[in-house]
Every structure is written in C-alpha cells, then in structure tokens.
Symmetry: C2
Subunit: 391 residues, 2 copies
Amino acid sequence: MKGKPLASIVSVGLSKFGKLEGKYSREIFVEAAREAFGSCSNLDPKRDVKALFVGQMSESFEHQGHVAPSLSDWMGLLPIPATRIEAACASSGAALRCAIFAIMSGIYDVVAVGGVEKMTHRATSDVTEYLAMASDFPMEQWHGITFPAIFGLMATAHMHKYGTTEEQMAMVAVKNHHHGCLNPKAQIQSEITVKQVMESRPVAWPLKLFDCSLISDGASCLVVTRPDTARRFTDTPVDIVGTGQASETIGLYERDDMTFMQVARSAAKQAYEMSGRTPRGIDVAEVHDCFTIAEIIAYEDLGFCAPGEGGKLIEEEETQLGGRIPVNTSGGLKSKGHPVGATGTAQACEIYLQLTGQAGRRQVEDACTGLTHNIGGSGATGVVHIYQRRD
Amino acid sequence: MKGKPLASIVSVGLSKFGKLEGKYSREIFVEAAREAFGSCSNLDPKRDVKALFVGQMSESFEHQGHVAPSLSDWMGLLPIPATRIEAACASSGAALRCAIFAIMSGIYDVVAVGGVEKMTHRATSDVTEYLAMASDFPMEQWHGITFPAIFGLMATAHMHKYGTTEEQMAMVAVKNHHHGCLNPKAQIQSEITVKQVMESRPVAWPLKLFDCSLISDGASCLVVTRPDTARRFTDTPVDIVGTGQASETIGLYERDDMTFMQVARSAAKQAYEMSGRTPRGIDVAEVHDCFTIAEIIAYEDLGFCAPGEGGKLIEEEETQLGGRIPVNTSGGLKSKGHPVGATGTAQACEIYLQLTGQAGRRQVEDACTGLTHNIGGSGATGVVHIYQRRD
C-alpha cells in the first residue's frame, strides 16, 4: 500500500487552549467538534459521523473515567460508538490510528477523532502526580522522579554525548513562542528571549521553567473519511499516507541510551516506508516538544538531521518559519499548550491547516507534505503520521 | 459484508481469576498471553504478532497509566505498537473492535488483544470509588451513588414494570455459580442456593451480596488474524462475523426507561445485521452479569426473550447448561470473576472454547454460533460480538 492514502482529513477543529475555567472535558471537546463540523458545509454530523475515537490521558483530573460516551452524548451524536484510547501524552495520536483502521476496515465511511484534557483546575502538585502515572510505578513514581526530572536526565545525557547546550534548548522555546504569537489559538502569545529562558527558575537541571511545556485545558477534533469519499465533504482534503506506532520499556532506566527515542525512530520508519516519503520530503512538522530537549531529539529521530546535530539545527534556524523544515508552527506544546490527551490530534489540526493554506500568518509557503510526532511518557509510546495535500 | 468473517480468533488465554497477590497487571497479563501463545503451535509471537490492543478500566488501582507498552515489553514483543482502550467494564470488548479494525485495514495480519485489571489489593471502599468513576461525576458520583445502587434502581424499575422477582434474580446467581463449578479458571467454585442468595447481606436493595459480581484480578488474551490466514495457525479458528458498539448518556438519570439498555439493543442489532444471524441462531452466549438483574435485562435486550420475560427465562432454566440457550457457561462475572478490563475478551475466550469443543465439563453440545455482550458502566457503552465455528 506504499504511498496510497489510508484515510483523509476533511475538517478540523480546536477549542481554545489555556485555562478554561468552569468547563468539563465534554464541554471543551464540544467546542472543538463544533468547529470541525461547522467548517465542513457538506457534513451533516448526525447523518454522516458513524463513530468517535477520543484520546484522553487521565481519569484523575476530573475523577471521571468512561469519558467517550459522554462526548458522543454532548456532541448530539448518540448512539454512535465512542471509544477512549489512552497512551499517555500520545493518546490522541494513538486514537487517530484507531480511526484510520476503522475507516480502512470498510465498516465506517466517516468518523470523528480527537482528544481532550482538563488540567488547570488542579494544583500543580496534583498535575505532576497524575502525569507521572505514565511513568513506571514501582521503579520511577515510587522513587519520586517526575517528568521534568526524567527529561532532565535525557537532556544531560544529550549534552554529555553531543555537546548540546542549554542555550540551544532555550532556542527551541524562543522559536516556539515566536510561532505561538502567530497562532490565535495558542495559550501563550508572547515572545521570549534566550536570556529569559536561561534565567527562568530551575525545574530539573538543566531544564528551567521556560524549557517546559504548559499545563493546559483544550480539545482537538478531526473528521476523517475514506479517501474516495473525501471530496464529497471538502475541496481540500488532506490524505494520511503513513502511520507508525511503536512501544518501548516504560521505565527510562531500562534503556541503554537516553539520547534518542527508539519509538520515534521506529514509528517514523514505519510511516516513511508506508508513505514512500523521506525526511527530505517533509515540508512542515509538528513534534512533541513537551520539553525543549524533546524537540531536539525529535529532529534527530525523525531524520531531519543526524544524531547529535539537533542542537545545531535549531541554532541555524532551519526549523523556524522560513527555514528548511519549519517545526511546530502552531507554537507546539511549549506555546500553543499541552492538554495532554488533545495534543496528538491538535498536531494533525495544524498540519491540516498548513497543507490547505489556512495557517494565516504562520503559513509555510507551498506546504505539500506534513508530519506529526507524538510521544507518550518518556518515550514508551511513539506515534508518527505523514500527511499529503490533495492536488 | 453480511455474514462474511471480519477476523478470526486462532488462540486464547486466560490467567487465573481471583486474588493474585503480589502481582502487577503486567505479570498477570503475561500469564494470559503465554497461554494464548503457547496453545498455538504454529505461532511465533516475536515473528507474527504485530500489534497489541488492551482493555484496562482504571489507572487508579495500581497508580499506573500508560500500561499498554509495558505489557508489550513484558510479553517480549517490543517494539510492537501497544494501545490501551478504556470503556469502563467494556474496555476489552471495545479493544477487540479496534483489533478487528486493525486486521480488516490490511495493515496487520496478526494482532493480540486482551484485557487486564488488578483490583483485590485495594480496600473495598477504594474499589467502589474507582469503579464509580465510570458513572457521571457531577450528577452521580458527587451525590454518592455507587454501581450497586445504580443497578439496584434498575432492578426496582424492572420489578415494578414487569413483576420480576428477587428470587428470579437469585436464580441467575445460582446458575452462574453452578457453571463456575465446571470451570477450573473460575474464581469461585461452589454451588449456592436461592435461599443463600436471598439471605445474603443487602448491598443496595433489592440487590444482595450474592447478586453482585466479584472483585477480581485477572487477564485475558486472544490472538486474532485475517480470516484467510487463520488456518496457518490452527485447525479450529473461530470467525468473528458481527460486531456492534453503541453509546448512551453516562448518567442513568437522563434515560427515559431504566428497564433496558439501549446500547445493548443497538449493538446487538448491528452485530446481528452484520452477521446475518438472529437471536434464535445463537447457541451459547456470555453476557455482562455484573449484577444478576443485568443478566435478566441482557436476555431481553439481545432478543433471547421478549422485554419483561427475562425473569421467566431464567426460572424456566432455558439459560442453564442443557437449556435452549446456555448463558455464561464460564460462570460469568458472578462466579468466574470480573477483573473489569479483562472481562470483554474473557467472554470471547469462553466462546472460543465452546465453539472449538474445548469447554470440558461445561461444553454446550454442537455449539456453532456464539455471542458476547459486554457493558460499560450502567450502559453508557455496549459492545456485542457474534462468533462462528469454522467447518
């Protein structure tokens, strides 16, 4: 099936990202779904949308499991099947794969897929604990290590092996804040400087506050169809031409090398092979910058540069708007925000907007091929998708 | 695709069900996977199994999210993609659907699908709370209603509308305990009497202790393949010929009628239509008897009898081994046990054993067609599958 479209995105929606006070997940998700449905004039959701797949990371934030049917309810789509997929911060990336499988199965012609998380109403210590549940309980959580610390270890290893600097990491934050200023949906819309990042409060050395992504409420939603029926819903479908997912030990301590993520390499290899694309052919990418070091590692794992050269790539402004391969034009997790369950399909939203020329002030000129890279935990799950503009 | 096999089960495995002290989910799941892999001589898991889908209800029991990659790790199957699906107690029923979609997509030829839950190490009050997270937070949990109470309301409504009796509900427990005595894997293997059920401690009137299913640790695992390659792995594949899933309001209070589950009716309709089968053509069924009343309602929703006649059906011993349509020959959730995330695919395990003549002392003679009915929460999710013996 090399290069053949697997499924097509015909419409996308994003809620606001940020602190959405007094709203439950289901209300936030409806905001995203409404935008997706509303921007697709030929779509009658009640008639057309036959199933929902939704990524949500944690039942703990709202003390609410079994979230999927309530979303189907609040969208007015009962009794369609609604299924929650959980893969930590890669939950909606994994949900998108289930949606693709469902479309390719021939059972459904049109499905909705998205993600949602409501996080900001909890104390930061609670948020840190709930997120840490995606690390290994007996060997990591139990000993008190949190995700900033885990990525701090990865950063240290990368600095040691390759000479990557704190300044280079800071440049990732600066770039993504700059991009976020061009995205009206971004949670933070203000420029920062390398100096500000360097002087921000230490969280887990070498990571400082501005190296960390945000705590956010938000939701994302895509309408996905069979490639051959996509034109019924829009003149500008975006085809998904490659999908990959891989697993790794949940505990960081069990891996031989902390300077890369095997899951990203493996998922990317699957997606590149399936799509017949190569890193050189990617025009725009959204990668999982949960911490600045993660974006640098992503460059390397995705083949945008050689291992160890991620720091140089950001330094040379190659991944900035106008560079060779703009990354995180949305602002990324760092500036757009990171409502964890929503992130995977939010990345797909941005790629859809880019490939259909709807990205406004952050538009990458003539973007034809896009990629998303969505990571769960410290890299126990990795999901990569490749997208192609329909000509 | 009416009547066409969607995917085939070539092998099944179940861990012990019960109190499995000192074991994490991943260790329990490996026990089930090992049995599934070990009983399929032509299967080389490392070579053949290309993805894992796993149902788990709650991250709270073990303070562990992101469980799927750790299962793939402990099964020795890294780096295959591993995805957790959550739909409350219907988690692995929903996971089975994702596995079917993945097979039908043509991307994978062989996948593993299962479920696991570790519950018994927590205090009963914790278990009750974590399970209650599958009900509506603002309108149910917050007001203190728990699942026994929710099903107590349904039982009361059924008694009021149809004259169903406490004795009839007790008969479900008696039957399922009897069947459980014939299943070496069942958590409880002792006969009980209607009198014992009636005299057991009230939990939420009219439900008494022996009307309630068990708190269990356990796991289940299936190996699922494309129908056309199934014979490569076994002489006795079982084809999945119908699948259905539906959603309903998460809160019971929003439904007009508490005496049936719309999701079960809707999911069953989908599965019957897809398979070209009818209720009359089902030889053996595993239904979601989380409480005895739920089994009576299931008879009606699945069309084994008319609405309101479920009490009569159990009273006339039609659903007992030797009856017209034996239900829960495994012992059901009531006697085999109910490790919530494992239940959906554990039901499929029993049907596989029945349709391949491997059910030992509880074998239904000449069983050709089977059905599973898996419910999440109070019926916000329903999943139904229909299975056919290969001749």
